[in-house]
Symmetry: C2
Subunit: 158 residues, 2 copies
């Protein structure tokens, strides 16, 4: 996939730029983590990242993963999400579609919702004393599965 490789190259350059600007070191670990994140799809948590990397190319300590994610968040190459549980989830954030998340409050299932125009409205919002860099929209509710499960449970009770 040429496109994906292109993106990997671009984000690597962006990260390099960021590290240089901040006077931070360009370590193998940092680039390996970035590369791994941009090789995967969807959301991941720290344990998933740690396990997957251990299984494959590169073993990196948890401490380093946490440290590096902090940098990637700072330069906006990664987004952090907290969907209501204690574990944080992350996703790559370059050249990806604008999307929101719907979260089922019963089973915790998270789905992506494509943007259909809300973005422009939110970004045109004027805020005093605040310069917005990005935003997250979380929609909570009940997914069809859980809705149906509830219904049949209620029917049994009656």
């Amino acid at each position: 996939m040429v496109d994906k490789d292109n993106i990997k190259q671009i984000v690597k350059e962006k990260f390099t730029e960021y590290l240089t600007e901040k006077g931070l070191r360009k370590t193998q670990e940092r680039f390996a983590i970035l590369d791994y994140i941009y090789s995967s799809e969807g959301h991941f948590d720290m344990e998933m990242l740690y396990e997957s990397m251990s299984r494959q190319h590169f073993r990196v300590s948890r401490a380093t993963i946490y440290n590096t994610i902090e940098l990637l968040l700072d330069c906006h190459l990664v987004l952090k999400h907290q969907f209501g549980k204690n574990t944080s989830y992350y996703e790559k954030n370059y050249n990806s579609d604008n999307h929101y998340h719907s979260i089922c409050t019963e089973c915790g299932m998270v789905q992506e919702i494509k943007d259909t125009g809300i973005r422009e409205i939110i970004q045109s919002e004027k805020m005093k004393k605040f310069r917005m860099t990005h935003y997250c929209l979380y929609m909570y509710g009940i997914c069809t599965n859980c809705e149906n499960a509830k219904k049949s449970k209620n029917n049994n009770n009656v």
Copy 2:
């Protein structure tokens, strides 16, 4: 404040209704927690709630507070927020203005942003296989304080 007392009465009734419907018990602790939440303003975390209640009317164990908050979330009398740190914050959710949150990624400061019409657009969003009950919009960026602090730091370096 008559208005506040009214609201307290209404949410108490709503909670009672919810407990009855679910076949759960109407304990003093549960109503004390609800009352305390609706007596306070703004966001709070579990420790704040626990401490404040201990200092005032009613001492309730942490376990019970966690348990009760779960119920209040379920019947939408309380909202839960995770602003990026490990601690969860909560706020009452009845008859309150529609608002979003702006979060400074430098200092963590959270401010409320009044809704100016985004709500209707979001609520008109059609979602397959999902019935939305509520949503949260978080805007991340830099507050003026931190922006200025950064600038003067950069100037010193140059």
